[in-house]
Symmetry: C2
Subunit: 148 residues, 2 copies
DNA sequence: TTCGATGCAAAGATTTTGCATTTCC
DNA sequence: GGAAATGCAAAATCTTTGCATCGAA
């Protein structure tokens, strides 16, 4: 996980200018333990910047992704972003369908998997979806209506 | 896996009309052991139907998905469809980055995973990406350029 | 014959790009 | 001061919807 300062430092070291907007973006991701949609990010940022445009948000998300600060993931309901997990040991995630928060999973199925020698593995994906403590308690039977 | 006749029968039993276009779609999926993009499907269908429109392809894909014949999956480069795996025991897939073909993986990591009791599991995803025998042999060093 | 399926056109939604203006360093 | 970042507008994708016509049952 990165702190605001670390993210800002990475951007500055690449020659990027540190605008207010980018600082706010960095703070948002540093404070968020999960996935955010571009729309949610735009709406959050819009609170602080009246003339904010969607394309600037996208541009900054792309820049931060290229720097390796953020990672982009496709879900059934669209693209989401979160802080990149680099710097940590290899792991996977349990993801809350309600709020998007994530919990690390240290177990990796690739250690157990018997791969046919004909298949040349490049990468893998292992994700567990469900409801976190807060959301599971709050929603009860409504839980199954989540749509991440 | 379904045969063309099984797919057609499922559609007919739901009151859907069996048009030539739908028969061709059924045959395409019955013959394809992997994922197809809407665009690839449209282009394939276009060979047989000159006035084909994209919206009809989409409509039929949605219908077949609702009937449980197809399943839709989001990849980094967009939505893809394949025959639904129902009727088989629970399994996962190894997916070729080049051609989209899939191989079944009977191992399920959820059997090994120690889930925190606070987290209420709904579903999971385990996918292995790489190159199948044919594509791995063909592409060699170029392999890493795939983009599924 | 009748209602569902199709093609066409247009609308939505999401993401990207060109360009003038503003702002950081 | 000069280059990068932003906002605005418009374009490019991808997907869906309304409606008149066509066609399967």
């Amino acid at each position: 996980m990165h702190t605001v300062d670390e993210i800002v430092e990475i951007m500055a070291s690449q020659g990027l200018r540190i605008t207010d907007q980018r600082k706010t973006l960095a703070r948002l991701f540093a404070d968020t333990a999960g996935y955010l949609t571009p729309k949610a990010i735009y709406e959050y940022m819009g609170k602080s910047y009246s003339g904010l445009s969607f394309d600037t948000v996208y541009r900054n998300l792309r820049v931060m992704e290229e720097l390796g600060v953020l990672e982009q993931v496709m879900f059934e309901d669209g693209v989401k972003f979160k802080l990149h997990c680099k710097g940590h040991d290899h792991h996977h995630h349990m993801i809350c369908l309600q709020c998007g928060h994530t919990l690390p999973v240290t177990f990796c199925p690739m250690n157990e998997l018997d791969v046919p020698e004909k298949f040349q593995v490049v990468k893998h994906k292992f994700e567990v979806f469900g409801y976190c403590e807060q959301c599971g308690a709050q929603t009860g039977d409504e839980a199954s209506k989540g749509k991440l």
